[in-house]
Symmetry: C2
Subunit: 118 residues, 2 copies
DNA sequence: CTGTCCTTCAACCATGTGGTTGAATATAAG
DNA sequence: CTTATATTCAACCACATGGTTGAAGGACAG
């Protein structure tokens, strides 16, 4: 279903628009990670990295479970799947359209009907 | 492969994170649109909508061609495909995890069998 | 209890964002 | 020419964002 929640798509795409967060997701693809494990690769402050994790969490891309003094994060698939579905719908549609345009351009190459001049 | 151009992914995902822009893309899926055609459905100013179009353009999602006093926009598939590739990589990975979760839920609940496409 | 580790919180700052307005450009039409 | 249309531009505003710092709160070790 492409319709999805507009609201959640906002959050998901916004979360994905940051390279730090995307890299965190890549790390999380290797399994559960603590906040400090997620933060270490970056040159920013711990608190700064923690904010990024929180952004991923509120976007629904990450689930957190507290174990002692560690906060262990793991990936959540559903919102990503929704975003992917959205994208897939359009990429498929647009590639069809590009094909059609390609054909049109090929067949009507020399026929420039528009009379615009300059 | 999946890493690709970090920079462009930033712009594409950010462009997609706004519902106004996503709706514009939906409109553009129906074919070429002028700026005013894209702007009409929204309650915001013309200049405001024009800014959104520009955002889509700089993200590479839209190509513009000026014909007289009209600026005609059309979709550009490539950056979308890149974003989709990124997402697909992770969703595939995460769907494996979902499968594991699914199995766990099924063994616990033993009632609901999901219909999965893969 | 004391201290150390992992983490969040609150305050703050610089910059970016979405949005407005008002003017400016360029093209078309009368 | 004058006027209307289609669009951008520049300036500005309120607000969110990414980042910092300096605390503070639990959990564990000694």
């Amino acid at each position: 279903m492409v319709e999805g929640q507009t609201h959640s798509l906002d959050a998901v795409f916004h979360a994905l628009s940051d390279p730090t967060r995307r890299q965190m997701l890549r790390s999380l693809a290797g399994g559960e990670r603590s906040i400090s494990e997620l933060a270490t690769p970056f040159r920013m402050t711990f608190a700064g990295a923690s904010k990024h994790v929180k952004a991923l969490e509120t976007a629904g891309l990450v689930r957190r479970r507290v174990e002692g003094r560690l906060h262990l994060c793991r990936l959540e698939a559903a919102p990503l799947a929704a975003a992917d579905e959205w994208l897939r719908y359009y990429t498929r549609f647009w590639s069809d359209r590009l094909d059609a345009l390609d054909h049109a351009l090929r067949s009507a190459d020399a026929a420039h009907v528009k009379r615009r001049k300059r």
